[in-house]
Symmetry: C2
Subunit: 319 residues, 2 copies
């Protein structure tokens, strides 16, 4: 099933839902927006209209025109209308387990038997969301980093009862629309990305709490240092290329160093303790709270330019 033959229902059309709409629609899917608040889907379409020209200018509409992308997105007041004919449901409601469970019960009751039900949840396990549902085997988590039209990674997380065909179809669809799926073998709190982020943040807070480095130094060490190679290779390929004999050679040479460092990493730092004052002072010195929203727009522009750069580099140099 190609994207142009696929209909996607977005259930919850706020920040995440509208970003998914772009992701699916630019690739050719028909997208049906719905939301408990009937005004929200129209606003989502307005948002899409406001960004498609920029995306096109950066070569990020996967060959679609802005008008084609927009024409594939429709708004539906009733959930059942949005689900009608949908092959894939991308649920993007509030991150509260009771709400998710209620939503998934409705989705499972109303959607056709072959429709896959995916939650965008970043922190709730798919087993908790779909437990007890008659159609629980077609449920999974498909967790994006926002916005998915600029950040391709999507975590596909099965519950213990998610059917293999569901994961296979999910993987196929995500590849087909240009995303980069991570296929978890089984669920774990934090999935992959939040666990990696949490481990890094924990050490970042520890370095600041211990008075070794400022928050700016940490950001510089990542943004002007480690994350450059990570941003096109990831950490395993990075270390594979960082020792003459590859990753086994790297582990033989350097595990001793890292084992020594780990001893100092076993105690948690309270991120809300005294260290927060230091982090907050550093951030607010660089950027006042009133300018956070403006800076988020800057971030999105940088992300768009980086995304366009990566596509060019993939084509010109290879990936």
């Amino acid at each position: 099933m190609t994207p142009s033959e696929t209909t996607v229902a977005i259930v919850g059309s706020g920040l995440i839902g509208r970003a998914w709409a772009i992701t699916f629609a630019r690739a050719g899917c028909r997208v049906k927006l719905s939301d408990p608040d009937p005004a929200v889907p129209e606003k989502a379409v307005g948002f899409v209209a406001s960004v498609v020209d920029d995306l096109a200018a950066n070569g990020l509409l996967r060959g679609s025109t802005p008008a084609e992308t927009l024409s594939r997105i429709g708004c539906h007041a009733a959930l059942e209308d949005a689900l009608d004919g949908a092959h894939w449901v991308q649920e993007c409601g509030p991150e509260a387990i009771a709400v998710k469970r209620e939503t998934f019960a409705r989705l499972d009751a109303a959607a056709g038997p072959e429709t896959i039900l995916a939650s965008s949840s970043s922190a709730l396990l798919p087993s908790a969301i779909s437990e007890g549902l008659p159609g629980r085997s077609r449920c999974l988590v498909a967790h994006p980093i926002n916005p998915p039209y600029l950040v391709p990674a999507v975590e596909l997380v099965p519950a213990p009862w998610t059917a293999p065909w569901v994961i296979e179809k999910a993987e196929t669809l995500m590849h087909a629309v240009g995303q980069a799926p991570l296929i978890m073998a089984r669920e774990i709190d934090g999935f992959i990305m939040n666990r990696l982020q949490g481990a890094l943040l924990e050490e970042a807070f520890r370095l600041v709490a211990g008075g070794y480095a400022s928050p700016e130094d940490v950001d510089r060490g990542i943004a002007d240092g480690l994350a450059l190679r990570w941003s096109f290779m990831g950490p395993f390929e990075t270390i594979d290329l960082n020792a003459p004999g590859g990753v086994a050679d790297y582990v033989a040479r350097y595990q001793g160093l890292y084992r020594g460092l780990f001893e100092g990493m076993k105690e948690r730092v309270d991120w809300a303790g005294p260290v927060l004052k230091t982090v907050l002072a550093s951030r607010r010195e660089k950027l006042s709270e009133e300018r956070l929203a403006e800076r988020q727009l800057w971030r999105d522009k940088r992300l768009m330019a980086l995304s366009a750069h990566k596509q060019r580099a993939d084509d010109d140099i290879g990936r």
Copy 2:
């Protein structure tokens, strides 16, 4: 003191030394190469000659021409000749404490009293390198990520006795040549970057060892996910922009999630244990050992293109 008024002696002209030579020379410094093996500085110049055109084409010579950059680099058979007139010594010898201590004793004896002595060491503490030297107060570590002409982050690490003027001058010089210095308040094993990298790698190995994810999934989650924003903002600015009220709001909302994850991160994984088989199989399936060197060239091309992209984005969108 501007770069054009600064003379830098590179002591040890292999992989790291030759990369530092480009970094200093393109900014206008006079660079004097030396090495225990007298053939090595000439080879280093050959390497510089082989990459300056590519750097110029990518706008990465800081306004210098390839010929100007090369003309600033000289080779010296005797260490004392290289040190003559040097304001800054960048030591790039083998990563063995006995060798470093012997080298620094020679440097301290031969270099003028105002010359700063910086080691490129990634893992040895500056106190261990300079302990007991008469001129220990002018010694520090200036640890780059290789190659520094493409990766600007440099860790400036003082020993307890390093004089404040040394750190100040080091910071000034690094900014002047276009690097991004991280100023550690005091030394700690792993400095900043290897501690952050170690924390992330530890969780990466743990996810693979636990059978939750493949090494490729981890790499995808970083390269197509987390590292995109990190590569131009770092982790603290990322979370500052990821909650409506900034970083304090982020900590209030999400620390509970991360605290829960930390419980499962307290035990070390042996990177050389069964997990290494999985990582190795995954890497060698993507890339045979014979092709590691070729892939390193690909990495350097990607890094060069990314570096050029970041400079353009800094100019066009702002940093």
